[in-house]
């Protein structure tokens, strides 16, 4: 390895590459597959990779989970909490909403797929378009 090789840079951006790979797997499944269920699974993978990526932005080196150490008892102590000691709670909160919305979307999409299969008898995209055109 040349002496100027910046290991911190590679290690620091390794997690971004991992989540982009996961995202592209979901993206390829959404666009490249013709089965509707595979497209739905691809959308799920895409969405979960984004949720994981945003939660990973909340990490801080050497910090603990965002629950105040000492619980209620530290209320009377009067000491202010140190913001650098706790992991950033805001991305966790926003991603809770995203997870729940994703569950609702998956439920409604599965219901639609059930109706499509009962009405047209197939879940392949090209056969489906043929049957819609001829019905």
């Amino acid at each position: 390895m040349p002496s100027g090789f910046n290991f911190d840079f590679v290690v620091g951006h390794f997690n971004t590459v991992t989540y982009v790979v996961l995202m592209m797997i979901g993206f390829y499944a959404m666009t490249g597959k013709t089965n509707l269920v595979k497209k739905l699974v691809g959308m799920n993978i895409f969405q979960w990779s984004i949720i994981l990526f945003v939660v990973s932005l909340a990490a801080k080196r050497g910090a603990t989970i965002p629950i105040a150490l000492g619980g209620h008892a530290s209320l009377d102590g009067g000491t202010a909490l140190d913001a650098a000691q706790y992991v950033n709670p805001l991305p966790h909160v926003l991603m809770l909403t995203a997870i729940v919305v994703g569950v609702a979307i998956t439920g409604v999409a599965l219901a639609l797929l059930l109706r499509i299969y009962r009405r047209y008898g197939t879940l392949e995209e090209d056969e489906l378009l043929e049957r819609i055109r001829h019905s």
């Binding site: 989970i65 629950i67 619980g71 997870i99 609702a104 219901a111 059930l114 009962r118």
Partner: protein, 137 residues
């Protein structure tokens, strides 16, 4: 879709395990203040106990769940949440401003009430979605 009940070992274990799963779900909702958890997480655990029973007992079990009760439960959680906000509005402060509630530590109690509402709605909504997907003929 028709699913037969599972064998006697699976059925017995799931029946014995369900009260503990539901108790844990209630614990996660109530202890959302001082440990990881809260309304959504506890509601999903409670819904998972119902799904476990369907996997063990077959679809005849979920046929007997009363539909009006499930829909009313779904709406009750949202009503509880908006009701707490409306109560704060009626007591003179902004919407969802818990500091005017007549409890000691009003913000903590207001948060507990809305977490219970969220837990009820999430549980009933997930069981309702699962029931509709399973019982579509």
């Amino acid at each position: 879709m028709n699913r037969e009940p599972a064998g006697v070992v699976v059925r017995t274990v799931c029946r014995r395990l369900t009260p503990f799963v539901q108790l844990f779900g209630l614990y996660v909702i109530m202890h959302g203040h001082s440990s990881p958890g809260g309304g959504f997480q506890g509601g999903v655990i409670l819904a998972a106990s119902a799904i476990l029973l369907v996997l063990a007992e077959g679809t005849d079990w979920i046929r007997r769940v009363s539909l009006p009760a499930l829909t009313v439960l779904t709406s009750t959680g949202v009503l509880l949440y908006a009701g707490v906000g409306g109560l704060c509005l009626a007591l003179g402060a902004n919407f969802l401003d818990y500091s005017v509630l007549p409890f000691a530590e009003p913000r903590s109690v207001g948060m507990l009430l809305i977490e219970i509402g969220v837990g009820i709605t999430v549980m009933a909504a997930l069981v309702s979605i699962f029931r509709d997907l399973v019982m579509f003929e």
